[in-house]
Symmetry: C2
Subunit: 134 residues, 2 copies
DNA sequence: TACATATACTTGCGCAATCAAGTTTCACGC
DNA sequence: GCGTGAAACTTGATTGCGCAAGTATATGTA
């Protein structure tokens, strides 16, 4: 039996993954968060001092520097994060998690984790972990 | 050692997948195709009579009906696909693959398959196939 | 010290896709 | 045949980014 061609395989996986993104996204939309916004909160939550340079945030979240600017600025206006300037380098502006941001993250992460658990059960933890191992 | 929490696991996979999408996308951009446009050609290529209703196309490609309209209309203007109206239902408009569209697809699919092969090798065919099996 | 190059970020423009609302056509109960 | 609800689209407004180009600061080199 011939193996599934790579292109068909990847297209199927692409589909599955779009569904995953939609599910995670709609778990967040209840709290008024986009996926990238949630990721920003997530990485800040897991960062030392809840503080990251915009560029590092961009890298982690998978956006460009420009993209991070556009995601973070509105979050700053709604008080989820704060801007802070770096001590020794006037180019960088740090993004910090506010207490309001931490609260929203906590609330949203309940639903997010629930959805994530469901998805992991659906595809099988081992199968998913095998992907990141490489 | 505790298993990776589901949320962290899915976030890692999300990242990996964004990279995959970028690679596939850039393999296509050489031929002036977006990812969704390629998918449209792909599904038409694999459809009986190379013909699909816009709604079914939307479903397969993973877009809304509106999204398909916006993807397909330009493709029609550049001659990759054609519009054709259904025999018994005046609501539906079929999308068909033109010979020009088939040629562009053939050209683009060389690069696409090459990139897909690389990605499948990188993550391991078995690991990827395990995902779609469920 | 001065200049070149690189880094961190922002901004204008544009594209891809969504949602909500509208139009046509169809199917079904009466 | 005649409404009523659903299906198959299209369109206007909006969102979420990217790219290219610009600004400001830092670093390394002569």
């Amino acid at each position: 039996m011939p193996a599934t061609p790579s292109d068909a395989l990847l297209i199927e996986i692409t589909n599955a993954f779009s569904a995953v993104q939609r599910q995670l996204g709609s778990a967040l939309s209840i709290h008024g968060l986009g996926f990238s916004e949630y990721l920003v909160l997530w990485y800040l939550h897991n960062a030392p001092s809840n503080k990251l340079r915009r560029i590092d945030l961009a890298d982690k979240v998978g956006l460009t520097a420009s993209g991070i600017t556009r995601v973070v600025n509105p979050m700053e206006k709604t008080g989820l994060v704060d801007k802070e300037q770096a001590a020794r380098d006037a180019r960088v502006s740090l993004v910090t998690l506010t207490t309001a941001g931490a609260r929203v993250f906590d609330e949203a992460s309940v639903g997010f984790r629930g959805t994530a658990d469901r998805i992991v059960r659906q595809y099988g933890r081992r199968a998913l972990e095998a992907l990141v191992k490489s």
